[in-house]
Structures are given as structure tokens and as C-alpha cells.
Symmetry: D2
Subunit: 409 residues, 4 copies
């Protein structure tokens, strides 16, 4: 057992960290103020172009992609500390071209896309020229249960016809969003793992409409946003289908595993930043003649946050290691463990930091309120905590249940 | 001991409840949509005028004020179930002219105001013709410790000159906000309970400026809002002082006690509504072939929420009873108990309801996200939880400390 | 609404409190030491006789029984503060002849017993001459589900024959335990509320055997104890049946409601005592140059304990009021609420007090470790928390489910 | 980063695990029953001799000692999974000669002992022929603050004279306990890290007396036990001093670090076993027509326990790795983190398992109640949670405080 980062990961970590602290964090306040001042905040600001170019020049680009031809060739475990650093900042993931859901979409196209799909969509995505969204969750059903899905992708000769309503399509508000990946039911009578189909939908296809942008605890997260999207008789050639009809579930399984752990990695970084802010506040703010750090249970809360962040980080790293070794199926249970634990941990740490900041913590004078909204959403996105706990319990109980059944025979 | 409501309170409760359910709740969605559609949401919509007129005609008006000449003549305990009902709805408190901070300001003017102050400010306030704000908390210091206050109210002959910066001045964004009550230091060398002065400041006084509106977890709470306000050489005649120079702390103590318990009462109602929504969702939404109510720990969470709400309500009622019997000083410790406990309870219940709603719970399709923002703010407003816990502990330990000191002599 | 105790309850409360503090608490340490020193601790020590006589002379006797002929004629709400006082001390309930399960058994015999049963068993029980136990829970099945019960009470002409194994029969170790109330299945095919029969079983009946005494977290709770008891072809005349065959469930429902709330009342007192000890320790023990009360989160923990105890007390009092007004069925849901909440609250408060006492808190130098064992057992006895939470959730969801079903029709 | 165990550790782990499951666990019930049946349970039962001999023959002996001449030559990280396995069973640590406090005492003598001390005490200890205890904590002061220590070790020519009272001296009740390591103040005016001296005290020295054995939540933990010990003018030759006068604090620091992490490793194993038992119960016990695993929040509780155990394990392993790399000082903060987190985690998991077992869980029919007592004690032993949280917070805040101070200059 060796808990040291690989030299390569350590080097990247230092460079990403340095870039974020010297290039991104100092410009965050300016960025958010500029965005807020715009009449239309669904805009890519010049500062992002500038930072993006600089990150690319520095070789800090597409770090999430294990394929060396396109990215840094890092495995999931090596990428983890980098994603953690990026999680500190709302801006950083885009700057390094490592933003969800583009990362997941890129992985799907890289792994399952046709040559044409890759050249048309993956390449510009990996160059940061376009953005994308993922249309899976639906407003009218509990989407944590995939068998509830109502949207359809019906084959009609050499065409596929899409209908349905999706929401929480993150990134669909971005002015550069050029395509979405849609998932719908093709054959309701097939095995529940073979019913669904994924389709690449250009956002200028007739019948595709972004109905509205959804706030998360009051935050619209411009310029990415979370959209409610309607698909009304959207007709596409069959070659817009990814991998083939009925393979949607399989692709989703492969896509969601890494996606979930990337979210968790970033949340570790977000929680770290919240803890840093809490500590700064605790030593600089005075009440009743003492710094806040010397009042009441504040020190214990800070210590508990440190412990929680450290345990969660190790858990995420271990899961990344499993994922690298055994793939999404081998790490299935571990992925659910971290997905059930890390967002809730982050919410608690951020909420503690908010409380230490007083009213300021709830305003936008600090990045904490937005951080809470982001972390809170991840207790629901990509499967609510409770669904992941269910997976963990099922795995845990399986051997015991089988032993008990054997006993009873 | 008798836990039955007084007949008068029961009658009012039934009428308020009925009014809210039949008149207000059905129009809430429309109200919020209309407000959101406005280019300037800092507006009083006609529906509010309409509802307000109807509530007044129904005798459901100024119910918070114990003085029978102006209100219903209810004591705090009788008002509690009415405030709880109002807490269910963002709109209801204004409709019944029972909105904070107008209620607290009205109490201050009623109890401490001069004849002139009352006729000029209290009367139109009680008629709902104007609104008001309260300027106490400051951005640059930990305001939970009153001795930190930096704003000044300097006597200069028959004038008083105000300087300083305040924030979280709730209601200052309302188009009808005509005056604020400002608190500042007059004599920094006086006893710490005699340093401060309260002054009525018309919002059109030169030197008074609303600098910006502050979001709470992304919510600006239009059209009331929470403002950051600057006072720059604001000059007023000395008769704008309430009760007299140096009496600010005394007035604040009297004002904040009832104010805190009113917040708690409303939060009970808000938590009740969140629990109702959670139950509705739990029985109507299906996943994995079962209603959510039959999945995982959802039932236990609902049961725990019911228990928490019931315990908190009894705690608030008991505190109101103490307040009626013994005044703010006699109920000082109990007020801190409920203020430390009820907002946190409400946050947990609302958060649970959000989780049961999935992504929808975080959006504005349900009133839950806004409810969370409101409840979360009250873990900080009027004293953060930790300060109130400190009061409770001090009271709890006092007798033991005195006994220990006696022992040691 | 009036939160003041009735004058009668207040008077009793003062007398009981005074008796416990002046007569019982000063002798507790001596009592426990004496008992521990005995080769056979299943003994009634002379000090108990002495205290019992004094309590009886003071008119503090059978306070639990609402019937004025036998007790003080107090209703449940009036008894609550007295039971709370008794809960402070392991010894007190017996001293006032208010010890479980004798209280519940007395209520059963008083309400359902035949004339002969009452004169043979109830009278000496109310005079404190004998003790009793209640045999319901079984080792081999989840007894929280009454339909699991395996023990049988078979009618055979004018006799009834008992077989089965029971455990957690509290009090069966006492040298004065003369009878138990046994519950068994008589007609497995009857409606599930009419299957069971209760029988009075003298402890000297052939076939009745106490197999062993069960520890609770290492405590045997001598001289009462919790026994595992076997019934092997125990034959009794049919007039040993209480109320009639098949009425066991009905009697149990009536018995368990008050029994549960009595446990909760006593736990409030136990938690109060733990909180007192915590405060004493916090102000008298010094580390790192400060009293423990000024270290870390100790004050917040003490404040939270105060709030939790106060909320729980009000909850229990409200439930007692409901029970007095509406009977066990009307208070069914409320009883489950307090039973699910109060033991867990007591465990937390006691555990906090233990932590403040360091190692001493885990030893028997303070009554805290035994208190934790007692409170922890009550998270299981008379229905585990989870079963009561299930009742609360079912009640909470019922109206919503019915509304949803109506909607769907 | 590589989360795989070293081949050597994996091999030992398999052998230790196998030995425990096939040799120890099947005999535990018999062992405890036999011990309980003894008139004097302060006895080493033959089964222990037998198992001990077998373990030694199998080369599973002194695994804790990094020195290859005496033990397996494993570093702390390699020992961790072995200690975890041993933690499953009350008996296992002694069987493998890896029992606290003998392990810590052996390390002290190995590292600091004179040649004579080592041959007289260390050798028989490592051969399992004698046992030992550690006398540090005192009843009359908060021993978490070492400067409170009152016991004295006064130099008098070539002799040292010990006086004072110690408690929680674990293992002092064992019939083979032949020596204790005593810590006392030698020079109260020296720097607080140079005041104390450690002395080897044979248990047959005049003036040494075990006053009583202390229960932990009702458990005396025979035959090891936790003693209160008095030292009354205990006179020893100066060569009984370890390392030299005034070096007690230094030795304690070195001793307590590994000691704390060993406790945490074992607690991971104990929590694992509790979780296994919980799962077994959940799938085999039925109520309301379903296995407990399908009722209420039980699955979520099991899932959360799995997550908590996994996170804690990784945290402990990481800390062991730090300890191997950087020594007790370099791992100081990490050691406090795990010590503050792991015992509390274990208590929660065990308590959850108890609740799933119903009353049986609180009795001695399962090892859960004793496990809870053991884990609960470790929230206090070797520093209460709160002291360790204080260390963690101090470390966390240091850089922020220094930055703030720099700012202010």
C-alpha cells in the first residue's frame, strides 16, 4: 500500500493548483460581477476565452480523458487530485475543458461514437469550441428508476423519431451548446437493459426546444444552466444513434460511473475551499472579545470538517483506484458509496462555513451559498442518496441473504 | 395544565387558516409567476391589494398587536397559532398586515414612540399604507455582539447625525417602504446598555441610500428584499429619536424577544407545509414499483419530522406563555432556546421534503427551495444559533457555578 | 392554553421532589454499595422497607393510580411531574410503590381483574407486600409484531394450560415477586386482535421457571432483574384468566399506552439528572487551565441538552393530556411519538454527561452508566423506536394517501 | 498510489483471519460462559493457553513489533489489517500476544528500556509468560491535560519514591500481571515536557495496591480489568526508571501514538463484526411478514454503516502510512483525527447492530453489548474525543492564524 501520488499526478496537481490560485481565483469575483451585470448572462465572457487559451497552452487540457491522444493520458486515480483542485472554483472546470456534462459526453462519443460522430462532435468538444448537454432525467417520473422513463426514440426506417420532455439538462443554456445526448425508450418490451437508445441531437434540430431554465436554490448557474427541454417529433437520421438501438442503458452505466466520481472529486475540492474560508473567517472575525475560532463549538466543527473531508477524499481515491482496476461494474458498489456520502458531506461542511460567516455566508459576497446549491443538487443528480444507499445495502446483504437461504434449504 | 386553545384563539385560527387555504394558497403560483415576469419585481402586485382588503374586511388584521384598539387584542400565546398559519405562505404575513419587520417596528413605536411618531408612522403602518425596515446589523463586524456596533447617532444640539453602514435590512426594497428604524452608538463611554440610540429615518432623507439588495441562497425575496444601506451624515431633528438617547439597547431587547418568537411561530407553519408536501409526494410518486412512502427510510424521516415539528410547536407555545406571563426578561432564556432550535428544525424538515421531491424540490416549482432559504437565514438573523445556545448554557450553568464557588470559599 | 400545573399536582410534585432529594438521593450510594457487597443481591434491603414506610406515611403512595380509593386520584397529566421526579433515582419508583411493571399490572387487575383476582393479587400489590412481572416478549421471534407470538394458553375444560418461553420479564428476579401476567395464543385462527389470552400465574406454580437473568449492557438491575422464563405445561384454573379468553390483545393495548408514557416521564427525570451532573462536572473540573464548561463545544452540548429535555417534557405532558382526554386509542399516535423520541433523547443527554465525566462516567462512581443502560433498553422495550416511527408515519400519511386514492378514482 | 496490501501483509492477514474464524470465534461463547461460571473470573483459562501456543507455533506472534528479532518485522501499515482482524474478538489480541497495554509497554521497553529492564521484563512479556499494566490516568484530575498529573516520582539518592493514585490501569487485574509502568512528576518546576518520569514497578513491591476494579458500562472485562491503583511510598532502585528522570513525557508521546492507532485498527474490526451480525440478523429475523432488512430505514442504516467503516479504515491506513513515514510527530495530527473519529464511528455501528437485535443485542447472547462498552471507553481512553478534536482544529487553524497575524502587522 502506498498513499503517495504518482510523480506524474503530483506534477499535474502542482500545476493545476498553481494555475487555479494564480490565474482563476483572483478573477472569480470580477467574473461573477461582470456576468451579473449583463442583461443576458447566458454568455461566455472574454475572461474565459483568455483563461482557457492559457490553460491549453500550459498543457492543462482535457485532463479527464484517459486516452493519451486527446488528453493527458491519466487514469482515474491520477485525475482525482486534479478534479479536486478544479472543484474549488465554479470557473475552473470549463477553463481546463473538464466540465460536466461535456466530459461524460466526450467519454461516450470516444468510447461508443461512430467515426463520423467523433469527428463532427467529439473533436470540437475536445477543442473547447462547442459545449453539450445530456438529456436523461424527466419531470413527470421518478427518474432514479430508469424503467420509469417515458421519452421515446422510435425507429422509422433509416430515421429515428424522438419525443418527450427532459429536465435538469445541465449546460443546455450555454451559448456554445451545439448538441445534446438524448436517451429514450425504443423497445418497451425488451429486457429492461435493452430498451433504451441514445441519440446525438444537434440543438438546431426542429422540434428541439429549451422550455425554461431551472433554478437550484435560487441559482440559475448561468451561463451553463439546467434546462427543461422538449422533444416534439424530432426526426434524425439513424446514424445519429450512438452505438446502436437498445444500447442506451449499457452506455449510461459506463458513463455515469466516472461521471459520479468526477462529481465527488470536485466536491472534495469545494469542501476544502469552504473549510479554508471557514478557518480564515474564524481567525479574523471577532465577537465578544475573541476570534470566532475561540468561541463555542467552532473549533470542534472545524476539526470534524477536516476529518470528514479527509475520510471522503480517501474514499474517493480508493474508488477511483477500484474503477481503474475493475471498471464501472467492479466499482459499482464503491461508486454508490461515494455518491451517497460525498455530496452530503460537502453540504455539511459548506453549511458550517456559511454559519461561521453569518449573513455574508448566505449572500454572494462569498462563494459559499452557490457552493451549497451546487453540492445540494448533487445529493439528487445522478441518483439521489437514497438510491445509492439502496445499492450499497443490497451488496452488503447479498452474501448474508444467500447464506440464510442456504441454511433454510 | 390545559393544552386547549382559548375559544378566541381557536376561532381566529379557523378563520385565518380558511382564508389562507381558500384565498391565498390558490393564488401563490400565479403571484410568483407574475412577479418573476416583471422587469422590476420590486413591486406591490394588485393581487396583494385585493387580498389585503379582503383580510381587513374579515377582521383578520394586525393580529400581532396585543393592544385592542389597533389589533385583535390577542396575547402572544393566542397569536401563536395564527402566526403559524401565516408562516405557511410567503404572501400571508403581508396580507394580514403581520409582516416582519413592520410588526416589530410597530411594537416599538406603539410602546416607545412619541405621540407625533405614532401618528406620522405607526398609523399608516397599521393601516398597511406604508412599509418599513429595521437597520441594526452591520457588514463589517460580528453583529451578534452589540458592543461591536460601529454606526453612530451623534447628538448635535436639537439634531441627531447618523453615519454608518447597515445590511440585512429586510423590507427596505419594498416600494412602500417609507421609514427605517436605525440604531447607532451615541455615547461609546456609557454603560454598554446605554450607549445606543434608535432613530426613525424617513427613506427620503438626504444621506440615506440603499446600496444594493442581498440575496439569500440566491433569493432576493422581492418585493421586500434585504438591503445594504448607507447613512452618510444623515441629519434629523432630535424628535426623530425614539424614547430618548441611550435607550436603543433597552428598546432592542423588548423588540427582539417577540420578534424572535414570531419568526419561530411562522417557521412551525412553514415546516408543517413542507411536511404536507413531503407526504403528498411520498404517496403520489412511484419508483421501483412502489410509492416513495414505501421506500427506504422515507417513512422514518416523515415520522421524525412530525415529532420534531410537534415538539417545536409546544416549545414555542410554552415560550409564548412565559412571555405573556413574565415579559421578555422573564422569558429571555426560553426565547433563546426556541430561537436556537426552531430554525434548525425547520431547515431539516424542509431539506427532507426537498430530497423527497427530487430535482423539482430544488427548483421553484415547489415553494420548498425558497422555504429553505428563509429558514436558513433565520439560523443567523436576530442572533445566530450559537449565540442563543451560549445564552441557554449560561443560564443552565449559573446555579451550578454559584454553588461551586460557594463550595470553594 | 395554560401551562401551569394544577395546584394539586404542584403540591405533590414539591413533596415528592423534597422526599427524593432529602430521603432517597443521599442514601443511593450506600444502597448500591450494600447491594453490591451482598453474596446474593436479589434481595430487598432494609433501607427500602424504611423508605417505603416513610413514603406511605407521607401519603406519597400509589400515585400512578387514577382511582382515588387506592391512590392519589391523579390523572395522567398530574402524575407526569411526579413520575419525572421518580425517574431521577433507581430506587424511587419502588419507594413510592410506582414501579414498573407493578404499575401496569395493577392497572390491568384494577380494570379487568375479577373480584377474586383483585383481592388476591391487586391488594397486596398496592400495599407493596408483593411484586410482580409481565411475561410478553419472546426470545425466538420479533415480538414487536404481536402476531409472531408463539407461547400458548390453551383452554382445557375449566383449566388453562400454558406453554412457551418469555424473556425480558422485568422484576421477576425480585424476592417478593409472587405472580406474573402471562400472555399467550389461545385461538390462532381468530381475528388477530382476539387470539391472545392473559393469565395470572403464581410464581410457585409447577412448570413455571426462571431460567436466567439477562444483563442490559452489563447491568442485571438487581434486585428486580430481567428474566428469561419458561412455562412448561403450566396448568391453572380458568379463573386465572384475566377478563376472558381472547381478550389479551385488548388488555395489552390499554396497558401499554400508560406504561409507555410512564417510562417516558421517568426518562425526562433521568435526563434532567444527567444534565445536572454534567453541569456540576463542567463547572468543577478543570483542564488546560479552564473549567470544562469553557472548553470546546461543552456549552453548546449542555444548551442542546436543555432544549431537548424541555421539548421532550412538553411532548410527554401534551401526550398525557391527550391520554386523559381521549384514552389510549385517541392518544395512540402521540404515544408512539413520545416512545420513539424520548428514550433516544435520554440516551443522548446521558451519553453527553458521561463524556463530560471522563472515565468516571462509565464506571459506577456516578449513576450515569446505569442510567444509559436503562434508557437504552427503553429504545427497545415496549416496541423499538422503529416500530413506533412506523405508527407515526402511517398516521401522518393516511389522509394524504386517501386523498391520492380519491384523486385516482 | 496503490491501495493493494503488500504481499506479506496479505499473507499474514489471510492467516490471522483464518485462525480467528476457525480457532477463536467458535470457542468464544464457551470461553465467556466458562469465565462467567467461575467464582473468581480473574483467571487465565486453559483454552487461552492452548490457543496461544497454537498461534505462536503458527508464527502469528508479536505481530505488532516492527523489530524482526522479536516479531514479524511488520511496519504499522502492514500490521493494520492484522490488528483489524484481532479487533473482531475479545480473545484474539491476547492469543496473538498483541494485547494492549502489553504492546505499548513492550514498545517502551524495547525502545527506551535498559538492557536489564529488557531481559527482566520485556523478554517474558514477548514470550507471553507475564502481563503488564500502564498507570498514567488519575482519578482526581482531568488527565487529558498532562500538566494536571499529581502522582510523584521523587528521586532520593539511588532510589526513586512513588506516591499517588492511578486508575483505568487496564490489565492490572490479570493473574499474570507482574509489572506496571508508572508515570509521575519528578520536577514540577521543569519545562512541562521534562517534569515526568516513568518507572517500572513490580506488582509485588510494598506500597503498590490494586484498590478496586472499575466497571465500564457494567463490564469489568475480566480477567484483564481496569484497576484503581494506589502507590504509597513505593521505593525502588533508580534503575527502575525508564530512560532517565524527566523523560516520561517524551516516552509517553512515542508510546501513545501507536497505541492510539492500534485501538483504532481493532475498532474497525469490531465495527465490521457488528455490521456482519446486523446483516445476519436483518436477513434472518422476520416481523410484519418481512425480513428486518426490508423494514423501515434498516437498509439505509446498514449502507451508512458500510460507508462509515470503509472511510474509517482508509483513514486509519493512511495514518499508519504517515506514521511509518514520518514518525509519531509527523503523524501527530492524523493520529488525533482517527482517535477522534473511529471510536465514535464504532459506537454508532455497534449501537445500530444492537437495535436490529432487539433486547438480545443488549444482553450477552451476542458480543454487541460488550463491544459497545469497549468502543465507548475508547471515546475517553488515551484522550477524549474533544481533546483530539482540539488538536486537529489547532493544526487546521495554524496557517490561517499566522497569515492573519502577518496581515495585521
Amino acid at each position: 500500500m502506498d498513499f503517495a501520488l504518482s510523480p506524474r499526478a503530483r506534477d499535474y496537481q502542482a500545476r493545476v493548483r498553481d494555475f487555479i490560485r494564480t490565474e482563476i481565483e483572483p478573477r472569480e469575483a470580477e467574473y461573477h460581477a461582470a456576468l451579473r451585470a449583463l442583461p443576458d448572462p447566458w454568455t461566455r465572457l472574454p475572461v474565459v476565452d483568455e483563461l482557457t487559451a492559457r490553460a491549453r497552452d500550459a498543457g492543462l487540457w482535457n485532463l479527464f480523458l484517459p486516452d493519451e491522444r486527446h488528453g493527458a493520458g491519466l487514469d482515474c486515480l491520477e485525475y482525482a487530485p486534479l478534479a479536486e483542485e478544479m472543484g474549488r472554483s465554479f470557473l475552473a472546470p470549463e477553463v481546463f475543458n473538464c466540465n460536466a456534462p461535456d466530459t461524460g459526453n466526450a467519454e461516450v462519443l470516444h468510447q461508443y461514437g461512430s467515426q463520423e460522430q467523433r469527428s463532427r462532435w467529439l473533436e470540437p468538444l475536445l477543442e473547447g469550441r462547442i459545449r453539450s448537454a445530456f438529456c436523461m432525467t424527466e419531470p413527470d417520473v421518478a427518474s432514479s428508476d430508469a424503467t420509469n422513463m417515458a421519452a421515446t426514440a422510435v425507429l422509422d426506417g433509416d430515421r429515428v423519431v424522438l419525443n418527450g420532455r427532459k429536465w435538469w439538462s445541465t449546460g443546455v443554456g450555454h451559448p456554445d451548446c451545439r448538441f445534446v445526448i438524448f436517451m429514450g425508450v425504443t423497445d418497451p418490451d425488451a429486457h429492461r437493459h435493452s430498451r433504451h437508445t441514445m441519440v446525438v441531437v444537434p440543438t438546431d434540430t426542429p422540434g428541439f426546444a429549451v422550455e425554461r431554465m431551472l433554478p437550484v436554490l435560487g441559482y440559475l448557474d448561468e451561463p451553463y444552466g439546467h434546462g427543461e427541454v422538449s422533444f416534439t417529433d424530432v426526426v434524425l437520421p439513424a446514424d445519429a444513434i450512438i452505438a446502436g438501438p437498445g444500447r442506451g442503458f449499457e452506455i449510461a452505466q459506463g458513463r455515469l460511473g466516472p461521471g459520479r466520481i468526477h462529481h465527488c472529486m470536485r466536491l472534495i475540492g469545494l469542501a476544502e475551499r469552504a473549510l479554508e474560508l471557514a478557518c480564515e473567517r474564524a481567525v479574523t472575525r471577532t465577537a465578544f472579545g475573541k476570534p470566532l475560532s475561540n468561541l463555542g463549538g467552532n473549533r470542534e466543527r472545524i476539526a470534524r470538517a477536516r476529518i470528514a473531508v479527509n475520510q471522503a477524499r480517501l474514499h474517493v481515491l480508493h474508488t477511483a483506484w477500484l474503477l481503474d482496476r475493475s471498471g464501472p461494474l467492479g466499482a459499482y458498489d464503491a461508486l454508490s458509496q461515494v455518491k451517497a456520502a460525498v455530496p452530503a458531506m460537502a453540504c455539511e461542511v459548506i453549511d458550517m462555513a456559511i454559519q461561521l460567516h453569518g449573513g455574508a455566508g448566505l449572500s454572494d459576497d462569498f462563494p459559499l451559498a452557490a457552493a451549497l446549491a451546487g453540492a445540494r443538487a448533487l445529493r439528487l443528480a445522478d441518483g439521489p442518496d437514497e438510491v445509492h444507499l439502496g445499492v450499497v445495502a443490497r451488496t452488503e446483504l447479498r452474501a448474508h441473504r444467500e447464506a440464510a437461504e442456504k441454511e433454510n434449504r
